[in-house]
């Protein structure tokens, strides 16, 4: 089951940001083993000065298989991130829920961007065997609004089956069909109606 952890929130305690940083750079720890980095997207996200290394922009909350910032145009209103290891064919089987909006900067931040834009360039991982896409995170941006990080810790290791019914003459012949799927181990029966 895909587990989504909340990774955003402005009203978070101060000390939690430090805890999240402490777990950075620990190789060998999977994202599922990490404690909840639920406070890392605070105001500090948008307080990065223009000269800062933008590669660390999203580094605390994002695990190695997720989002990376390849290039940026952090001029205060726009920046570009590249999502690597993004699910393409398997996006359907993953369950993403909103992990919270990235809070806009407070007035104390030097590079406050009241309105900013995200331009996402998505590409699939050319070598999916090296890096499992099951834990891929997803960052969505909406024009003029805060972006959202969809963090997927644990992936989706469940199995599934999809059945497409085809009628003899047309699709009308399948409407109302009943399908019962019985698993080998379980005694439960799942049924569904074809639409």
């Amino acid at each position: 089951m895909a587990r989504i952890h909340r990774a955003g929130g402005r009203e978070q305690p101060e000390g939690a940001l430090g805890r999240a940083k402490n777990f950075e750079g620990q190789p060998g720890r999977t994202s599922a083993e990490r404690p909840l980095p639920s406070q890392i997207f605070r105001c500090a996200t948008f307080c990065q000065p223009r000269s800062a290394t933008i590669s660390n922009f999203f580094s605390p909350p994002v695990d190695d298989d997720g989002i990376s910032v390849r290039s940026s145009e952090f001029g205060g209103t726009a920046f570009t991130v590249t999502l690597r290891n993004l699910i393409s064919a398997g996006k359907r089987s993953l369950k993403f829920t909103s992990a919270g909006a990235l809070a806009p900067a407070k007035s104390t931040c030097p590079t406050t961007a009241a309105v900013f834009r995200l331009r996402l360039r998505c590409k699939a991982d050319p070598t999916p065997s090296r890096r499992s896409p099951l834990n891929a995170d997803f960052l969505s941006g909406r024009l003029g609004q805060a972006p959202q990080l969809l963090r997927n810790d644990g992936g989706n290791t469940n199995h599934w089956l999809e059945i497409l019914l085809i009628g003899t003459k047309s699709n009308h012949d399948r409407v109302g069909a009943r399908v019962k799927v019985s698993a080998v181990i379980s005694f439960s029966t799942t049924s569904d109606r074809a639409a």
Binding site: R92, N158, H159, I163, K180, S182
Partner: protein
Amino acid sequence: MSYQSAQDPRLHFGLGQRSTIGAVEIIWPSGMVTKLSNLKSDQIVAVKEGTGIVERPFPRVSWK
């Protein structure tokens, strides 16, 4: 999943940790019954009434 009032015609069954399906029984509106057995999970199966499993190109899942 639906998009612009169009729904996915495929029936999706979540199997949890079970990797194989013992039996699938399809009762068509015409009264015909199609039974399938020993299906592998994580796949899309196209079943035609009166014929059974038919070939149908679906997008491949890359990491399986």
